[in-house]
């Protein structure tokens, strides 16, 4: 019922690649005319016990800049293990990849090589952990600390510094 490319024009053809060959595959697709990186995201399959843990997904589109037609889509799936970064950054092919990679790093802790120092996109720099990983509990709370405050959540006196407010 699902994943049928003919029935789903938004999804396009599904391809797979090894992490080491992913950048070359993307570059080849770019040369074939896939000029838009529509989306890039990841899925953490650790709750299903799959190895390697992550799957990074690039969604590409061939956009005709003259007629405005969508000339075909491709999604490239790359299985990525946890740990040291293995994927090469695609920011040299599509500049938007810079922000999307930052989001993937922020949410999943998947790093990229061959790019400037990666910064979190949505969370703040002092945030600990990567929230969209399946082992990050949804009920976990972290104190919101500003970069200038000098307060760190790992500092035992952190909570002691805050006055207790009572709401009545």
């Amino acid at each position: 019922m699902s994943g049928d490319a003919a029935a789903n024009p938004w999804q396009g053809e599904r391809r797979e690649s090894e992490p080491a060959a992913a950048f070359d595959a993307l570059r080849a697709l770019k040369e074939q005319g896939f000029n838009m990186l529509v989306d890039m995201t990841a899925v953490d399959y650790s709750a299903q016990g799959r190895e390697p843990r992550f799957e990074v997904l690039y969604r590409l589109m061939k956009l005709d800049l003259q007629s405005g037609e969508d000339r075909g889509r491709v999604e490239l799936h790359v299985k990525v293990p946890e740990g040291a970064p293995v994927l090469r950054s695609a920011a040299s092919l599509w500049p938007i990849a810079d922000w999307l990679e930052r989001e993937v790093w922020d949410m999943f802790g998947i790093g990229f090589v061959d790019r400037p120092k990666i910064k979190r996109l949505l969370m703040y720099e002092e945030f600990q952990g990567h929230p969209l990983r399946k082992d990050y509990p949804i009920t976990k709370r972290q104190p919101l600390v500003g970069p200038a405050s000098g307060e760190r959540p790992d500092n035992p006196s952190f909570n002691a510094m805050r006055p207790t407010v009572k709401y009545e």
């Binding site: 699902s2 838009m36 989306d39 899925v43 996109l121 969370m123 929230p131």
Partner: protein
């Protein structure tokens, strides 16, 4: 004379009246000239994607309201379509028309907000009042349709919450007159206005190639001259049955984006009017002479038709005949695995009761077959996509929302570089940054 130029840093936002609430720009300035921009987002991050993983399929719909909160109905429809794609079901025809009408109403409110707010930031407060007033009329229609102005929660997997309310078409006709008038007035006030033109004409220019490289879609891409619209590229719902134009610009500056949005308002209104002509007749307005069965009273109650409730007496039979009524079948798929049965069936038959509880009970609910899919709809700002992974349980394994305005925000540095600080206001206004969607 070759004096060494010195640059300085300027911080704009997150609390700044022109930053629409929650975005921070760190500008490197040389006098009034912007040399570099660093965009910092995430101030409205609410963990939408994480929350979705712990909710049942239908319970995610209210969370999607909070994505683009000026066009929540489009988010509802996009998410429901993605889940239905995975489940292999579709909303019935009348439901599809209602969804199309809902989407286009939302698109108009989105564009009115964007044009109105950015005009206000340039000093045209009258235009803001005109357009927000027009938006208010549309919000009242949406309130009528979905029961809430902003937190609509309108779609269900397999259809929509309710049929069109009584007299909706006439109400729309009245409101559209007012909306068209407001748009015409704003057009007269702004389009040839010297003060407005000086600020928006030839500022914030982006080329087709840059827009594509940054993944920009929607009115922003169309202003550069690329007629890419998902409603035309991959017609979903009933967009292949209605006639509409795709307005495009030529230079890709702020003025073009303003014109494209104004023109799209008119096209959306046209689409709704055609939908009303084509929509298959369902028994959405109740006939007084037919008021006999209890379920018709219930429907009348849903439409707020209390006068009828007082006037007639209900005839109650043992099974209450709920499932056979058109009211339910018109807007919801027949799939018993995904759609709640009619209330009368729940109360009147044991099968209906079991069906209802299987869908409602904790850890039961709708079971979507394992797999993954991606469905995109044309949102107010561009391609709004939902990538959904299911593991066959009653909850989504992963929901990824592709927020269209994130891509435009990422391109903000190239839009602003080497322009003046005063250009930030119209350029940022034309981005139509919506924090709920950007930060999720």
């Amino acid at each position: 004379m070759n004096r060494a130029r010195k640059t300085f840093m300027l911080n704009m936002g997150p609390q700044h009246p022109a930053m629409h609430g929650i975005v921070r720009l760190v500008l490197e300035m040389e006098g009034e000239l912007i040399k570099d921009v660093d965009v910092e987002i995430g101030y409205l991050h609410r963990a939408f994607e994480k929350h979705a993983e712990s909710e049942t399929w239908n319970n995610v719909v209210p969370w999607t309201d909070r994505l683009n909160y000026v066009s929540p109905l489009i988010n509802n429809v996009g998410y429901a379509m993605a889940v239905e794609k995975l489940a292999g079901i579709e909303a019935p025809e009348r439901g599809q028309y209602i969804r199309t009408i809902a989407c286009e109403l939302s698109r108009v409110t989105d564009h009115l907000t964007c044009v109105g707010a950015s005009a206000m930031e340039l000093g045209a407060f009258t235009v803001f009042l005109y357009l927000i007033k027009a938006r208010e009329y549309l919000y009242q229609l949406i309130d009528n349709l979905a029961g809430a102005r902003v937190t609509t929660n309108f779609t269900r997997v397999g259809g929509v919450k309710a049929d069109l309310p009584q007299g909706f078409e006439e109400k729309c006709r009245d409101v559209f007159k007012k909306v068209r008038e407001a748009v015409r007035d704003s057009d007269k006030l702004l389009t040839k206005n010297r003060i407005f033109m000086d600020r928006v004409d030839k500022t914030g220019i982006i080329s087709k190639e840059d827009a594509a490289a940054y993944g920009i879609t929607g009115p922003f891409l169309r202003s550069t001259g690329v007629a890419y619209d998902l409603r035309r590229a991959h017609p979903y719902l009933v967009y292949d049955r209605v006639d509409f134009e795709i307005p495009v610009g030529s230079t890709g500056d702020n003025f073009d984006r303003y014109l494209v949005r104004l023109a799209e308002i008119e096209q959306s209104l046209r689409i709704i009017e055609q939908c009303f002509k084509q929509i298959p007749a369902g028994k959405h307005s109740l006939d007084i002479a037919e008021m006999k069965n209890a379920y018709e009273f219930e429907d009348a109650g849903k439409f707020g038709d209390t006068a009828l409730l007082k006037k007639y007496t209900a005839k109650v039979d043992q099974t209450l005949e709920g499932g056979g009524r058109r009211q339910h079948a018109d807007v919801l798929n027949a799939s018993r695995a995904a759609v709640l049965p009619a209330k009368e069936e729940t109360y009147g038959s044991i099968e209906g009761l079991m069906n209802h509880f299987e869908l409602i009970m904790w850890s039961w609910g709708i079971k979507i077959p394992a797999g993954e899919t991606y469905v995109a709809v044309e949102g107010g700002n561009g391609e709004l996509g939902f990538h959904i992974v299911s593991d066959g349980s009653g909850r989504p394994y992963r929901v990824r929302c592709r927020p269209p305005c994130l891509y435009i925000m990422a391109a903000l540095p190239i839009l602003l570089k080497d322009s003046y600080i005063a250009d930030i206001i119209p350029t940022f206004g034309s981005v139509n940054m919506i924090g709920g969607e950007l930060d999720r």
